[in-house]
């Protein structure tokens, strides 16, 4: 009996080997990876990044085929967990056909993952990691096309204080690196501008905001800055408005999803947020992408999808220019890394021209301030309330 077990095992191992041989390949494959949470509570946002990257790669496959390469896409799920993220990063590093990566959603994941990928020179273009630490570590492979917390936070805060004339601001955050970083930056900025911060606190609560709303009422605040994601801000605003508080709520690009409107319902009125992704209604190219995205994935395109698409575009153009610089041969990862850092793109992008400074931040970006208000059709919708151009402090 036991011998039978052993021989089964040996047989199994052998057949595995044969199976594996069958899948050996010959063509020159170039892979671009995406990494974002596809499971867990932020999977909705992570899927936007993943799907948009896939879409961009599909769109540009032919350019690679013409040069004799097979461009492939591979998605990794980091589960919003740093440990899984680094494990994935090691897999990416080990797969030599992966030249660059788009991702991630969480700064907490990208920071350790980029440390892992830095020695192997796998370039990362991030659509969503806004924490200053992401690029401030000065890694050669780390770039991002989204605005930093310390430029986005103050931009929103400035609008709140200067345009909306807020005097007493209640600051909230969602206790994620993103939300807290944003809220801290906004709070620091507002303190320099004679506005009173009546309170500043974090909450992981997803459903019952009654105690916070009670405090907001008691504080007589005239505006709220909430660093967080639409999944939390939506229900919060709904309950806030239902409790009879109509003061403006300001936040960052984490609000940028049509789901914000459905989650907040009538409470979405006078929510403001800052983002570098243009509103779908403003840019025709974004509308086209949106309908194609909807057709392919049966979901509406949101801000992170736009950012993901542009990140993938940056990666693809970087790889292409590295191929060209290398005489139409397969470039090394280091060449791709250099090419991506040297990106100068102005056309074909949804979020405006992109070039990176010495640490991988965008040198300048046009930032939209979006307001939720009644559209012509009488429905609550996003509309552009203003634009700001933010420049990075470093060159």
């Amino acid at each position: 009996m036991k011998k039978l077990g052993l021989s089964t095992l040996t047989l199994g191992a052998l057949s595995l080997g044969v199976l594996a041989l069958g899948s050996a390949n010959a063509a020159t494959v170039i892979k671009i990876a995406s990494m974002s949470p596809l499971t867990g509570s932020s999977s909705d946002l992570g899927l936007q990044i993943r799907n948009a990257t896939e879409l961009a790669i599909r769109d540009n496959k032919s350019a690679f085929t013409a040069l004799g390469f097979d461009l492939q896409f591979v998605a990794y799920d980091d589960q919003a967990d740093p440990t899984t993220g680094t494990a994935n990063a090691r897999r990416i590093a080990a797969d030599n056909s992966i030249l660059a990566m788009v991702g991630t959603l969480n700064s907490g994941v990208v920071i350790p993952s980029s440390e892992v990928l830095a020695p192997s020179h796998v370039a990362i273009v991030s659509p969503a990691n806004t924490n200053p630490k992401v690029t401030d570590r000065g890694l050669a492979n780390m770039n991002r096309i989204c605005a930093r917390d310390d430029s986005q936070g103050p931009a929103g805060a400035d609008y709140l204080v200067s345009t909306l004339k807020a005097k007493r601001v209640y600051v909230l955050n969602d206790k994620t690196p993103y939300g807290q970083g944003l809220a801290d930056a906004a709070e620091a900025f507002m303190k320099t501008k004679s506005a009173t911060i009546v309170a500043s606190e974090g909450t992981e609560e997803k459903s019952d905001f009654s105690s916070i709303i009670g405090k907001i009422k008691a504080s007589k605040a005239d505006a709220i800055y909430f660093g967080g994601l639409y999944g939390q801000v939506g229900p919060f605003s709904k309950q806030l408005r239902e409790a009879g508080v109509s003061i403006p709520v300001m936040g960052g690009d984490g609000y940028d999803s049509p789901d914000l409107l459905s989650l907040a319902g009538a409470g979405a009125k006078d929510i403001y947020f800052t983002t570098v992704a243009p509103p779908l209604t403003a840019v025709p190219a974004a509308r086209v992408l949106s309908s194609r995205y909807n057709a392919a994935y049966k979901k509406p395109l949101a801000g992170f999808g736009i950012m993901g698409y542009d990140s993938a575009k940056v990666v693809i153009s970087g790889v292409l220019s590295a191929i060209k610089a290398n005489g139409n041969k397969l470039p090394t990862r280091t060449q791709v890394e250099t090419a991506i850092r040297g990106t100068k793109l102005s056309a074909g992008l949804l979020t405006g021209a992109i070039d990176f400074n010495s640490v991988g931040d965008r040198t300048s970006a046009k930032m939209y301030i979006i307001q939720v208000k009644n559209s012509a059709a009488g429905k609550l919708d996003f509309s552009t309330a203003g634009t700001v151009t933010v420049k990075s402090s470093k060159q």
Binding site: G40, S41, S43, D44, K175, V198, A199, E201, G202, T203, E204, E205, K206, S207, D208, S210, S211, I212, G214, K215, K217, A218, S219, K220, G231, G234, P235, K238, E242, A243, G244, D259, S262, L263, G265, Y297, K298, K299, K379
Partner: protein
């Protein structure tokens, strides 16, 4: 000042009532099997998902002409009945497949099985809704439930809040009748006390346990529908935290005791809301600036510390009886 405190009490009472309804499901099962039905948080969430689906299909879409579509109260009734049936059946199936074969195993075994079922259900809900392209579910609550009925001390009391209180009162009364003043209830209590002896008295203990799970699941279903209406924003993982808190409420009140679960839920809801609001006193008494350090984040910490303190001083909970251990 009065408005602020009244707000805390009212909101605490409402969330406490929700905890109480969920806690009843835990307490029923625990009373009979001495098992923490970890899967109850997902059974109750299933009720919420059922409500989401029913309101999505039967209610007029938001922004539609007022007065069109089905009567909101009728839709609510349909949701309630469907949720009771679905969750009751689900709970029976869970018991049959995952707990019954383990009834004589050491106590840890069914508990771990329950944790497993809870994880499975989370992903099954995710799978089912995921195929329709949804993760976060925004419940289409009819206006009748979100409308403010009256305002007490600057706090709006809405239709759903009144519904919640009425349903909770009916459930408490009905459950108490059922368990303490009916033949079936007597049989359930007999099984809870001593399964073997109850068997000798002609009680089919397996049927009674199934019945308990049916009742527990039905209570969970009702809780889920009310939760979905009060906090119309669900995802596959949003059952866990209310589930843990409701269980804490059941323990707080004395597990196995029906009035205890309700009392525990109310106490927990008020404690929690009070701790979450504590830093707000700064706005009323600027001298209490140190309270500003107690951020809303610590309200869960407070809830658990309250639980531990009660368990140290009164391990059987507020209304539980001290059971002598059978050796």
């Amino acid at each position: 000042m009065e408005n602020f405190v009244t707000g805390i009490l009212i909101n605490g009472l409402l969330i406490g009532t929700l905890y109480a309804i969920i806690a009843l499901g835990y307490t029923m099962v625990y009373g009979v099997l001495q098992l923490i039905n970890f899967a109850h948080s997902e059974v109750f969430l299933t009720g919420g998902v059922v409500a989401f689906e029913i309101f999505r299909v039967l209610s007029p879409a938001p922004g539609a002409e007022p007065g069109t579509g089905m009567n909101p109260y009728l839709v609510f009734a349909v949701a309630l009945v469907t949720a009771i049936v679905v969750c009751g059946a689900l709970n029976i199936v869970i018991e049959r497949l995952a707990y019954r074969p383990l009834r004589n195993a050491p106590k840890l075994v069914p508990l771990i099985s329950a944790i497993g079922v809870s994880l499975i259900l989370q992903d099954v809900i995710k799978l089912l809704e995921g195929f329709q392209g949804r993760f976060q579910l925004a419940v289409n609550v009819p206006g009748a439930f979100t409308r403010t009925v009256f305002t007490v001390a600057d706090t709006n009391v809405k239709g759903i809040d009144l519904t919640l209180l009425i349903v909770a009162a009916v459930m408490l009364f009905g459950l108490n009748r059922l368990v303490n003043h009916s033949r079936v209830g007597r049989a359930i209590r007999a099984v809870a006390q001593d399964r073997v002896t109850a068997g000798l008295m002609g009680i089919d203990s397996n049927r009674m346990i199934s019945l308990t799970f049916l009742i527990g699941g039905a209570l969970g279903g009702v809780g889920g529908v009310l939760f979905a209406l009060k906090f119309p924003n669900l995802d596959p993982y949003s059952g866990t935290i209310p589930g843990i808190k409701a269980f804490s409420a059941a323990v707080l009140g004395g597990i196995g005791s029906i009035p205890g679960a309700v009392l525990g839920g109310l106490v927990l809801g008020i404690i929690e809301n009070f701790l979450g609001s504590l830093s707000g006193l700064v706005f009323i008494f600027p001298k209490l600036a140190f309270l500003g350090a107690i951020k809303a984040e610590y309200k869960d910490v407070g809830a658990f510390i309250a639980l531990i303190v009660i368990l140290i001083f009164k391990p059987s909970g507020l209304l539980g009886r001290n059971a002598t251990e059978k050796v």
